[in-house]
Symmetry: C2
Subunit: 225 residues, 2 copies
DNA sequence: ACCTGAACACCGTTCAAGT
DNA sequence: ACCTGAACACCGTTCAAGT
């Protein structure tokens, strides 16, 4: 990764392609966030004009979708579920999405935007297979799989938003401590519950908390079959 | 549209206020979607210039947040939970948010964007109180409440996206039938599970399906305490 | 204190013109 | 077939000038 910088200027004469455009878009999104994906910035990175990109891609939305699909596909195929129990496999898949959003926060926002689209379907399919393996009766499989998916999407959206608002200077601990402190100072009548659990927020690890939610849903799924 | 124009001009001399701006923003968002909220369009509706709005509101993001907060607060206080079992109350609260997103799809997108913000905290607080009433031990309350919240957010995001992509001409049944048919035609190896549950999608009612997920999580919560 | 609206610095997207 | 880049039609936001 270090020496690629020197080579970068040589890239300019490689012909444009959908693949290269998507790749460059991902780099831009990772580096600058969703607001950084501009046709002008992308064109500069590809040493061309903004209009050229439209020959390969219909517009910004499609490009964002293609970038999300590329990352999610990689993520899903990278998760190894062979030899695991269905519960372990569900955890692994969910954590795969969680970590992918951690690495590319813009995915979290994007996944919530394109329902019934390919990236989402991929996650749904993989989760669903494990639901099947859990022995959930056919009639209950759809609900089980989509509950898991929607939970993953909810957390993903929150994490994406957190990453966006996050001051780059502060660590995750500092951030959590700040939220925890803010909660502890809420009005004690209007926010009695939130105040009471504020202290639990400080010590919780995001990933562990996320898996705890998955386990809760898994318990609900298996409690009924 | 023809005769309302005559009355509309009488509004022009009411003084501007944060309240009126938020109210007009909600009307615009409901009528035109998230893309319709423009400072120019808003100014026109308020018979003023775009600059005037900035005296009462710091910018577009704050305005969107204030509009979301207004709707969510109304929603949460409108839900009656007195005399209900905790399970029923959780269902009622969740459905309140669900229906609010149905009526104002832009909220679904917005809720996912502002973590640890007031509107979200309101929902979290109300859900959390019912979790407490369920008898969940203190150490498990945070996980239970946030799992419910994240599920609600996930579904809300999906519904908001569906409403945005939705052709205004098609009914929900036609829409579901279309998705169901598309799923049934997916590659039978790559999407074996999704194909298998495609037929369940056609007949499912969105609201019922949503509640089924809530019940699944509730089952998980109570299975452990 | 509050409002006005022109102006600034951006966008995504289109399209005539090139190769 | 593919690329170029100026131009179009928008944005959010600012700010000097008004009342």
């Amino acid at each position: 990764m270090a020496e690629s910088g020197a080579r970068r200027s040589e890239r300019r004469r490689e012909p444009l392609s959908r693949e290269r455009i998507v790749e460059a878009a991902i780099e831009l999104l990772d580096a600058e966030g969703e607001g950084g994906l501009t046709f002008r910035a992308l064109a500069r990175r590809l040493s061309t004009g903004p209009g050229a990109i439209y020959w390969h891609v219909t517009g910004r939305d499609e490009l964002l979708g293609a970038a999300t699909d590329a990352v999610v596909t990689d993520t899903m195929t990278a998760v190894v579920t062979a030899g695991a129990t269905p519960q372990e496999a569900v955890r692994a898949l969910a954590l795969g999405v969680f970590d992918a959003i951690d690495a590319h926060p813009w995915i979290g926002t994007q996944l919530a935007r394109a329902p019934a689209q390919t990236p989402l379907l991929r996650v749904f399919e993989h989760l669903g297979r494990q639901v099947e393996a859990l022995g959930v009766p056919h009639a209950a499989q759809f609900t089980a799989a989509s509950t898991l998916l929607n939970y993953v999407l909810g957390v993903g959206g929150q994490n994406a938003a957190n990453a966006r608002d996050h001051q780059p200077g502060t660590t995750r601990e500092e951030f959590l401590a700040g939220v925890s402190a803010a909660w502890a100072n809420l009005d004690s009548e209007e926010y009695a519950f939130t105040r009471n659990v504020a202290e639990q927020l400080r010590d919780h690890d995001d990933r562990e908390e996320f898996v705890a939610g998955i386990d809760l849903i898994l318990a609900g799924i298996t409690a009924r079959s």
